[in-house]
Amino acid sequence: MAPAKYCRLSDTKPGDRFRIEKVDVPDPVLKRRLLDLGFVPGGEVKVGQRSPLGDPTAYRVCGTTIALRKEESDYIYGEKIHHD
């Protein structure tokens, strides 16, 4: 488990910006896939639209839009970036 101060990427809303702190996945193949898709610690994610059924959600990361299901974005921890 990641420390409680982090939230999950799956807890964000469309329009949010999010900085990844940790990709903490029990399944190594899924972990590898998320990293390869550009979800790497330190990376910034912009949350896009949710599909009509609520899942998956589009995320803008590393210059490309990637759709993740909740059971994937659940494992990506970080913090929301607030604008001043």
């Binding site: 590898r32 390869d36 898709l37 550009g38 590393c62 210059g63």
Partner: protein, 244 residues
Amino acid sequence: MTDRTYTVALMGNPNTGKSTLFNVLTGLRQHTGNWPGKTVTHAEGECRHRGALYRIVDLPGTYSLYSNSADEEVARDFLLFQRPDVTVVVVDATALERNLNLALQVLEMTDRVIVAINLMDEAKKKGIHINTKKLAAKLGVPVVPISARNREGIDALLDTVDAMAHGRIHTTPLSIRYSPEIERGIAKLLPLVKELMGDTHPARWIALRLLDGDASLLQALKQPPQRLIKEGNAYACCGSVKSV
């Protein structure tokens, strides 16, 4: 006239212009085929440059070679079992950071790599300047800027392919150093892998994949896909419809 055909594989992330480049190179004389047992299609065609004949293979776009999707296995197996004479990694000039992930993975598998930076026109529009010389020095392989849609840089790319296919280019691909623990594991496995596989496969890369517990790779090594065995000449078993 040369007596052999050189195989050139096009790899890269999705949507980086591989098929556009493929069509420019082959003049649309493509044979498309469905690899048996896979839902993935690939295209291959021919290209002649300075008298030599090249078989160009357009592989599926992937972000990686390790996530074990069907597309990634096709691309990985092609590199591993077909061992193309030249692999061109087509990268998007406007998203280099993302694209170089795959390029680095390919550099671990083969030293016969050219990085083609595509969409240079798009990069220019966005004010992105790419120091291709420095990138080539860092990666240890040739880097050629192109704009496939505008047919820019194609001759320079083909000249580089020609030079590499004919052994006139010596590369020094960037080799990633891992943690001491992993490097110790590699060092232990390396002689065993070499003994088992000979010099025909990238031993360090296979050792790394073994350490990573890559079950899909083990499966592929045990049973090299029939269609990819070099001696069998893949043309014959691709089931490709030749539509010249």
